[in-house]
Point group: C2
Chain length 104, copies 2
């Protein structure tokens, strides 16, 4: 519950810091805001369902992905605002301490 902004963002980067999970993100990013179903993702990454489910949970827990159900299908989509905030965070305060202009 109590976690700083630094810790939440580290968790998000860590969630993305695995080849399979990064591949999953990029797949659902291309799929747009509707996202794609777990089964579609599975045939793209070619993994046992239980392993895939673990990775999807990790991404949702870090709120990199959002999920929604339609019948028995579970759709996963990129959480665009979270992703934007994450990439912004890396550059925040860049060259605050006397950097030459143009360093970022």
């Amino acid at each position: 519950m109590s976690s700083t902004k630094l810790e939440r963002h580290a968790e998000q980067l860590s969630a993305l810091g695995h080849p399979i999970r990064l591949k999953i993100l990029r797949f659902v990013v291309t799929a747009g805001p509707e996202g794609s179903a777990a089964g579609e993702i599975q045939s793209h990454v070619d993994l046992p369902a239980s392993t895939l489910s673990h990775h999807l949970k990790r991404l949702v827990d870090a709120s990199v992905l959002v999920t929604r159900s339609e019948g028995t299908f579970h759709y996963y989509a990129a959480n665009y605002p979270t992703l934007q905030a994450l990439t912004d965070y890396l550059w925040e305060d860049c060259c605050k301490n006397g950097g030459k202009p143009g360093c970022c």
Copy 2:
């Protein structure tokens, strides 16, 4: 050696996916292109030198940071082009498959 773009980027995200290493990155980012010496970083993160050195090595190995020596001082600076390419990678091909405009 043989590693795909996906794997290299996953490694970079994984390197940043640790609270201490993310804190280190943000510290050297504010320090600008000259970076800061290991000792300065150490007093900012308050860690045994050996632990810090391990984290710095991880960041340099992922080429998130670059390093240079001046006498006995070892300076670390953010690798801006690498960081830029990394953040771009996450959004690449966004909504390629029929996303509504404005989704990214």
